[in-house]
């Protein structure tokens, strides 16, 4: 697998792309006959790509996270493809969630966490200490295992972050609330009680509200930390369908313990494993390749073990 230089390209959102120079290197793994396209794009020109090959949204380079001296995971080098669903699987305690929390710098909130290596979001170095973390987190949303709506009304749950990011116009907020709630399939269920507490919703509805809240900020990437595991099977399948519908428009990284789910929805699968004292990325490839012809013996055992 070669490293690919990322760009800002998001096929679902072409109007917003301003890049002086975009270098696209296709991911060799998914495409054996690699082509290198160099495109010169001026500031105001819209980029038109018919490029079917996924470009890299996030590129990590020898990324390690330590809590005090104890490593959570080490040396993870991975390129996450734009507009695809990448599933992180593996046993508990091998650093999958910690890996996610590096990508939006949530680890800043955790005491004694120290990161080494590099994360590129497009041209942006995420680990740059001078980085505007607030702007970064607007671009990279996150969903947690336990739905965490704020103790506010349904409407305000979506409106509050919007206002914080400078969208103050009431009509604009109302229309964003409606479209995002429609996107997550919650509009018909809650449109008559937008002023009711979000905490009165069911678990599945709360999780969809959290996804809507994240989508309202129009992020480029969504990090999901076991978004279905606290939900009942029906809610879980609704949320899973929702995640599938986000493909193409958003780059999705999802941690899941449900291998069947990973197999159903993931374009790419990364297997983390606890090895020699810390979490390691032991296999990364397309979902088909990982599930049908795993390269690593542990991957095979893990997949077969779950199958029984």
């Amino acid at each position: 697998m070669t490293l690919s230089k990322g760009d800002f390209d998001d096929p679902g959102d072409l109007d917003q792309i301003f890049l002086d120079l975009v270098e696209i290197e296709n991911n060799q793994m998914s495409n054996p006959q690699t082509t290198n396209n160099k495109q010169q794009i001026t500031n105001n020109q819209q980029q038109i790509t018919n490029n079917k090959q996924p470009t890299t949204k996030i590129q990590t380079e020898k990324l390690s996270l330590y809590y005090r001296a104890k490593p959570a995971f080490e040396d993870v080098t991975m390129s996450i493809a734009t507009g695809c669903i990448t599933a992180l699987v593996g046993p508990s305690g091998c650093g999958k969630s910690s890996f996610l929390s590096c990508l939006n710098r949530l680890k800043d909130l955790m005491p004694h966490a120290r990161v080494e290596g590099s994360i590129k979001l497009g041209d942006l170095e995420v680990l740059d200490p001078k980085l505007d973390v607030i702007a970064l987190r607007r671009r990279v949303g996150m969903i947690f295992q336990k739905p965490n709506p704020f103790p506010l009304s349904i409407w305000k749950n979506i409106a509050f972050p919007l206002r914080e990011h400078g969208i103050k116009n009431r009509e604009e907020i109302d229309s964003i609330v409606e479209t995002t709630l429609q996107d997550v399939g919650l509009w018909d269920e809650v449109k008559d009680r937008l002023k009711d507490s979000a905490l009165a919703l069911s678990g599945g509805q709360q999780q969809r509200l959290c996804i809507a809240r994240a989508l309202a900020l129009q992020p480029e990437a969504l990090l999901m930390d076991e978004p279905c595991s606290a939900l009942d099977p029906i809610s879980s399948s609704i949320v899973e369908d929702l995640i599938l519908s986000l493909r193409e428009k958003y780059t999705v990284l999802i941690v899941t313990h449900n291998l069947a789910q990973a197999k159903r929805i993931a374009d790419y699968v990364a297997l983390f494993w606890f090895q020699s004292g810390s979490g390691k990325l032991i296999e990364f490839g397309s979902g088909k390749q990982v599930f049908e012809s795993p390269q690593h013996s542990l991957t095979e055992a893990y997949i077969n073990g779950i199958r029984g």
Binding site: L106, L109, F150, P151, K195, A214
Partner: protein, 292 residues
């Protein structure tokens, strides 16, 4: 047979144990409630006869033996107002610093917390002497409502800060992480999510603090004085209800009936404040989600 007896004996002992535990568990709260009602009953019994519209609205006469307690009530409310105006912002600010901006094991936070715990245990007479030295003499506020209120603020702060801090720490981290992940800055998170969620905790601290302040006698003797006239400014000396009760029952012969009346007013004031706090908490929890 022997075995059977043994099990029976065992059952008997367990039953006895249960009985002892049950009676202990029930008797202690019963005794405590009984004491409370005894005190309350005694005060109501002796004091209710004194209470009238006139008692509440006229000036004291004859050193308090007759007349009302209007100036006393005004002084009490003013002292309390000074105390809360100073202590609430300081207390909440310190609690925010302790709970949100320092880690629990941080040396500075630990120092502040340790100092507060010591302060909370300091006898009120010591606060009185301190207030007398600082506010009455050094800062030159004389014996006044201002000096008394500020001294009470010093006394109430430790209670207020510690319960406000607990209230903030009790807010689940889910909100902090959720807000951070949406790119909401810490100030807005604090203002719009954490403080509203901590309001019930803040109010508990406030009720405890007000309770301590309104009952305070020793610290006020040295700071707000015991002039029983209606105060005209914050720099006037004023007599609080608790000092009035103390004076009537200890220094004035024939002052007992009015002492009881004043005590009843004091207790009612306290109950009203507690009730209001409970009501605000309830309303807050119910309506918080509706504000825009």
């Amino acid at each position: 047979m022997n075995q059977q007896q043994k099990t029976n004996n065992k059952k008997q002992t367990t039953n006895n144990k249960q009985l002892i535990t049950t009676s202990l568990v029930w008797s202690v709260p019963l005794i405590i409630t009984a004491i409370f009602f005894w005190i309350l009953g005694d005060i109501i019994w002796h004091g209710i006869g004194q209470i009238s519209w006139e008692f509440l609205t006229t000036a004291t006469k004859d050193a308090g033996r007759s007349g009302g307690i209007a100036p006393i009530i005004v002084s009490t409310v003013l002292i309390l107002a000074v105390c809360l105006t100073v202590s609430i912002p300081l207390g909440v600010g310190t609690a925010i610093l302790l709970a949100e901006f320092t880690r629990e094991e941080n040396w500075f936070g630990r120092l502040v917390r340790r100092s507060l715990d010591v302060l909370a245990g300091v006898p009120s007479i010591v606060f009185g002497l301190f207030g007398n030295a600082l506010f009455v003499r050094i800062l030159g506020f004389k014996y006044s409502i201002l000096s008394g209120g500020l001294t009470l603020a010093c006394m109430v702060l430790p209670i207020l800060i510690r319960s406000a801090e607990e209230g903030l720490r009790a807010v689940p981290n889910d909100y902090r992480f959720g807000a951070a992940c949406l790119g909401i800055c810490r100030t807005s998170t604090l203002w719009h999510l954490l403080l509203p969620a901590a309001v019930p905790g803040l109010l508990v601290g406030l009720v405890l603090g007000v309770g301590r302040a309104i009952a305070e006698t020793a610290a006020l003797l040295f700071t707000s004085g015991y002039v029983d006239h209606l105060p005209t400014s914050l720099l006037d000396s004023g007599r609080s209800l608790s000092i009035h009760i103390f004076d009537l029952s200890m220094n004035i012969s024939g002052g007992d009936p009015n002492a009881y009346g004043s005590a009843l007013v004091l207790i009612m004031l306290l109950l009203i404040i507690n009730g209001m706090a409970a009501w605000i908490t309830h309303r807050w929890l119910e309506n918080r989600i509706l504000y825009r």
